[in-house]
């Protein structure tokens, strides 16, 4: 099952993919490993991880359009660059930008929970926090078996040279296929 059979899946989407903006920022950062982990967690909560990731409340007009019904079409911009259609979409996007749903993290930021007195239970204080045990098991991110080695660039684990090669070729510092 390690064989590359992706060609066999002809019906599956061939939608363009690219590294998410957050990921791009992460790569520019000095601390690749921490940023890579954050981006990975982000990917696990993403509803359409295969598609291009859009930031719903960016200043960018593309992103503003993402809020309403057009969000899906964004993905196809690269394939169908229609100037006129895009313009109307921009105008519409500006109109609706205020109404655009915001991410939970933005709402959380606005709620300013840090300002509440320490005895008040909040979303932030309910977080379970890091594990106490330091003995961590490591699984190869390629094949799933126990992994002795850590990638020096991104911190992900692999078990042998074979898996290291696959890691370097396909997923090192990439979280979107």
């Amino acid at each position: 099952m390690d064989d590359d059979v992706s060609n066999s899946l002809r019906r599956m989407s061939t939608r363009a993919r690219k590294v998410a903006p957050k990921m791009a920022a992460a790569l520019a950062s000095t601390d690749n490993r921490t940023q890579a982990i954050l981006a990975r967690l982000e990917a696990l909560e993403n509803d359409n991880p295969g598609a291009e990731i859009v930031e719903p409340n960016d200043d960018d007009d593309d992103a503003a359009a993402a809020s309403l019904d057009e969000d899906d079409d964004l993905v196809f911009h690269k394939k169908h660059p229609k100037g006129t259609k895009r313009k109307t979409r921009q105008a519409k996007a500006l109109e609706t930008a205020k109404k655009a749903p915001r991410t939970f993290l933005e709402l959380l930021h606005d709620a300013n929970l840090e300002s509440l007195p320490p005895h008040v239970p909040t979303y932030l204080r309910a977080a379970v926090g890091p594990p106490s045990s330091t003995c961590r098991r490591h699984f190869c991110t390629v094949c799933g078996f126990s992994a002795k080695y850590t990638c020096v660039r991104c911190g992900m684990r692999f078990c042998a040279v074979r898996c290291q090669t696959i890691h370097n070729d396909t997923r090192c510092l990439k979280f979107v296929a």
């Binding site: 599956m12 598609a51 899906d72 709402l107 977080a127 594990p131 045990s133 094949c143 799933g144």
Partner: protein
């Protein structure tokens, strides 16, 4: 209409459970999302997504929830409106509403929710509850002589869609200062499985509905990860975990399916040392399959048929709930999460809480879940305390059933906030009545 109709709406990030108070089960359980199939311009509504004929290949999903909280109220009210009128056939203006909301919901989200309930739908009155207290209520009513109802206390572990909570409940109220949350739930598990399958065999990054199905049918919780990893390394039919999932072809079938369900369930018969018992009926079964195809070929992936095989992914995915740190998440696992929740309560409560752990939420349905949790929890709990874990009879409907029970109790009317009270007092002051 007889007296007052109370609509019970368990508004989860993954599934909406909706129905009429007093009934045992919700009238409708649908995904809380809309999705647009690749081939279509229109978004399908939640109940349409469940139709066996709808082709959801590469569908783009829109959810009103983000990280477990309601962020897109427009989308949510579109979905609600459809549920009220087409699935429940109720008139909000002559009904009351019992609505669930996530723990630690933000005031800004509560305000918008109240606006929709009273100003857009015009419900007569509203009661808002969290899930743990409803789960507790339901379990206490089911086992009146158990510690859960005698001590009026339990520890509700809810493995949800975007997060998992360990929530102590005392005297029928959720003890907010004791609640602990892991930022992991069913959605992350599905996405993790997508990643594994996409890296190892076929690209399924866009196939949320398909991989949800794979996860629900094939994943399980290992009670001995080291042993199971060894078994998963074996070749051919000695690998008791290997099984094949067939992708939809869009012509003969629009849904995927497990190729050989009996083969997929083999692992349930594994003995302690990881061997399959060789019973006589077992060999009969094997003979029959052998007649169709040789065992060595049976496990091979047929490239022309659009299928993929799974082996260690089946248990490595739910493993994330128990050891998030192994997968690079800097969070304690479920057992430690429970211990921390208990420890933030008064020491008098510790023994009763450990003795009344209730598992709820769809992800607790993985075979082996409760057993593994007990194995991990036991060494962390003082010897003198009992550890007793029960999974709800139906972990998906448990919250709704508690809501149905509460909403049909004689006190319910008095607990609600009416539309005129809302108009007079506003959202924030009304909200204070729901929680202590």
């Amino acid at each position: 209409m007889s007296s007052n109709v109370v609509v019970v709406l368990d508004n989860g990030g993954g599934l909406i459970k909706a129905g009429i108070a007093g009934e045992r089960d919700p009238a409708t359980v649908v995904p809380n999302c809309t999705a647009r199939p690749l081939s279509s311009k229109k978004h399908l509504l939640p109940d349409q997504l469940l139709s066996p004929t709808s082709d959801l290949t590469s569908a783009i999903i829109r959810r009103p929830f983000d990280r477990g909280y309601l962020i897109n109220h427009d989308l949510q009210s579109t979905i609600w409106s459809h549920i009220f009128s087409s699935l429940l056939h109720i008139t909000p203006s002559s009904s009351s509403l019992l609505l669930t909301e996530p723990l630690f919901n933000l005031p800004s989200i509560q305000r918008t929710t109240d606006e929709i309930v009273f100003e857009e739908f015009n419900f007569k009155s509203l009661f808002v509850s969290d899930s743990p207290s409803l789960v507790h209520l339901y379990e206490a009513s089911r086992r009146p002589y158990d510690v859960v109802s005698k001590a009026q206390c339990s520890l509700v572990v809810d493995v949800g869609f975007s997060f998992t909570h360990a929530a102590p409940v005392f005297q029928n109220f959720t003890v907010n200062y004791g609640v602990k949350r892991m930022d992991l739930g069913g959605k992350a598990l599905t996405n993790y499985l997508k990643e594994l399958v996409s890296y190892r065999s076929v690209n399924v990054m866009d196939e949320t509905f398909l991989i949800d199905d794979v996860k629900e049918k094939l994943c399980f919780v290992s009670t001995d990860v080291a042993r199971d990893l060894q078994i998963a390394r074996r070749r051919g039919s000695d690998n008791h975990f290997r099984c094949t999932y067939v992708l939809p072809d869009g012509i003969n079938h629009t849904k995927g399916f497990v190729k050989d369900p009996i083969e997929a369930q083999r692992y349930l018969k594994l003995s302690e040392n990881g061997d399959l018992p060789s019973q006589s009926d077992e060999t009969d079964e094997a003979d029959q399959t052998e007649a169709k195809s040789k065992p060595s070929e049976r496990n091979k992936v047929d490239l022309t048929k659009n299928e993929f095989s799974l082996s260690n992914e089946r248990f490595l995915v739910p493993e994330m709930i128990f050891r998030p740190a192994d997968l690079g998440m800097n969070q304690a696992g479920l057992a430690e999460c429970i211990v921390r929740a208990v420890n933030s309560c008064h020491p008098h409560l510790h023994p009763v809480l450990y003795e009344s752990i209730i598992l709820t939420g769809g992800s607790t349905l993985f075979p082996g879940f409760a057993k593994r949790l007990e194995n991990e929890l036991r060494p962390l709990v003082p010897d003198v305390y009992q550890v007793k874990i029960t999974t709800q009879e139906d972990p998906i409907l448990g919250v709704w059933r508690g809501g149905s029970l509460l909403a049909s109790s004689p006190d319910f009317d008095a607990m609600c906030v009416t539309k005129s009270e809302y108009e007079e007092l506003g959202s924030a002051r009304c909200r204070r009545r729901f929680f202590r």
